[in-house]
Symmetry: C2
Subunit: 426 residues, 2 copies
Amino acid sequence: MRVGIAGLGTVGGGVAKLLASQAELLTARCGREIRVTAVSARDRERDRGVDLSNLRWHADARDLASDPEVDVVIELIGGSDGVARDLIERAIAAGKPVVTANKALLALHGTALARMAEAAGTPLGYEAAVAGGIPVIKALREGLAANGIRRVYGILNGTCNYILTTMRETGREFADVLSDAQKMGYAEADPSFDVDGIDAAHKLAILTSVAFGRELDFKGIHVEGIRHVSSLDLQFAEQLGYRIKLLGIAGVTDHGIEQRVHPCMVPLAAPIAHVEGVFNAVFADGDAVGNVLLTGRGAGEGPTASAVVADLMDIARGHRAPVLGVPADRLAPAGTAPMGRHRGAYYIRLMVRDQPGVIADVAAAFRDNKVSMESVLQQARDPAEAVPVVITTHETEEAGMMQAIARIAALDAVQEPPRLIRIEAL
Amino acid sequence: MRVGIAGLGTVGGGVAKLLASQAELLTARCGREIRVTAVSARDRERDRGVDLSNLRWHADARDLASDPEVDVVIELIGGSDGVARDLIERAIAAGKPVVTANKALLALHGTALARMAEAAGTPLGYEAAVAGGIPVIKALREGLAANGIRRVYGILNGTCNYILTTMRETGREFADVLSDAQKMGYAEADPSFDVDGIDAAHKLAILTSVAFGRELDFKGIHVEGIRHVSSLDLQFAEQLGYRIKLLGIAGVTDHGIEQRVHPCMVPLAAPIAHVEGVFNAVFADGDAVGNVLLTGRGAGEGPTASAVVADLMDIARGHRAPVLGVPADRLAPAGTAPMGRHRGAYYIRLMVRDQPGVIADVAAAFRDNKVSMESVLQQARDPAEAVPVVITTHETEEAGMMQAIARIAALDAVQEPPRLIRIEAL
């Protein structure tokens, strides 16, 4: 099986290396040799730790789709449109199987691409797009395929999990830890895709589709990142028996499929609370199997290459499953639930001027919006400076909570925008 | 696709129910209807929560292999020989795909059955045989198939994990908790298969074969159960920063593939330390992907049926992977390492008469066998009764440790057989 690789960055180079170093094992396991015959990358001279000099080099990655010596196209260029999309569409049109790690592209165009691929009768593999080396797409689409999935959630961005873990362990603030993470290569120079939750939302859109048999709906996802999580919140979380994690969560509700990415207070008793550092995790609740949790590295050369090559092996073995778990023309409409109808418990941290009556005003705002408070914590007293007041609530509806928060934010004694973190009963 | 089920106990009934209740979903996901047409079970009258009255009933399960209205045979009778084995061999000979949850059969005859199935060109699915609903065979054979696996280990028996968890949480002793577990249906009337580690060893034999591409070698596995773990050991474990888990462990060593099942001291920082109660977990360390951990329910109607039906769906979709990950005729000999060459750290608990010189005698026995002690704990003093002395060692070789222990056991002051639990650096 002759493979063309578009994009020879960390992952592309890793795939080429893995195919070379494991050649014998892979041939034994799938009964065919898998061999790279062509590549496309900007820099032909860079040392990628594997000899690529005898391959067919294409200046334009799109030409891999029409190269007669390429049977399968691996797209590792990235980006939700442009060359990556063109290449994949051309390869599918040419009847060539495609493997990609491109979550942005799938999140935005996954339904259409699945339709195209199935119409052409050609596989489209994307295990590497979600949770790196963890075989989570395979688990949902095959291993747990006998289940109706009720809920799926996960730690889908290693950068955010690394930052939150380090903040908790060191007591340092977000900006400081982010800057270190950038120096160590755990975060991009422009960290927005990661820390603002967009990357996690791309992955969640894909997971939701596969878990619930729905069309993808990236735009319907409620997305918040971790920029506003402070070390103060991490301390309070610890005190209340929680860890703070950026989760992507999708589940069946009375109002449709809820899809949300935001920082969560996760009980210490939940196994996912102990998934730390750059590790990712995906949890699924199936109606037959119950709770399943998969944990592993979500990014990096080895884990991502592992997933890309696993997809190649499925193709070499002739395995064919519907791209999104059910045939694309049988996917239900996304039916994403409005975030205002979300029900859950909340943690709210206010910075208030310590004066009589503040708590009463806050409590009134909650009462008037039918939010029932569970606990109020005001540990520090300082007439000169704003002090934190932490409130946790019982389960309530998001819309009412937002109205209460708006009224509380406008109170004279409240000195900073209220910080809200949802508490998850996992 | 017409399915015949042999054995309508909890799991068999669960499979029939799942196929009925999820019929629409399954047809959408694999493009074919999967329908039970024939069954075999002793009691025709029992209510199994699903209408089986119109099916073909066979008094002899083996006749499912030759029933012209059966395309695929599901073997849920159990037992490593007898009817179960006959049925599977006949089905394979008839070119019918087989799905089984029978770990004992596979552990003892897996290599031969894989050869037969591959020679006949017919799939043999056994996802349900290891770790119940967790898709771990699929993960090793497909999702992580691009990796050379360096180590695989897991909590493979939910009964043992439940007993150890309950002992730790309640401070009660083994016999007491076992008796409760039997009343609640978490343990069999004859608990030996579970608590003596045999069931876990069956599953480990299968995992080892798939992970390392080796012939199965159940008899080569070093097996110890949990009968000798006392609540005292659980208390000391806590104090030393460990949890006690019955693990099945297989890994590449200088002396071959080590395969062992025994109680382990697992550091609290290891994610598997937090897998509690009836949950199972399987950990794999792949040379590309790094550490992956899969957790879920390892037994019971729903989880096991989920795995059986997933195998059926793979068959319906036409997926074909070598039974044991590589073609059976390319499996390497087992090459199991002798347990005497195992290297690791140890926890030893002695019950000694508190008299001068005991510790010196114990220390001399270790020194003479080149075992380096890490810590010695003697917290209680009581001239009238035996008191516990707990020793932990640095990494050492099993053979020397066993010689030291034999000498220590013979000491006058040592009142009970020494208890030894291996400490794992996970």
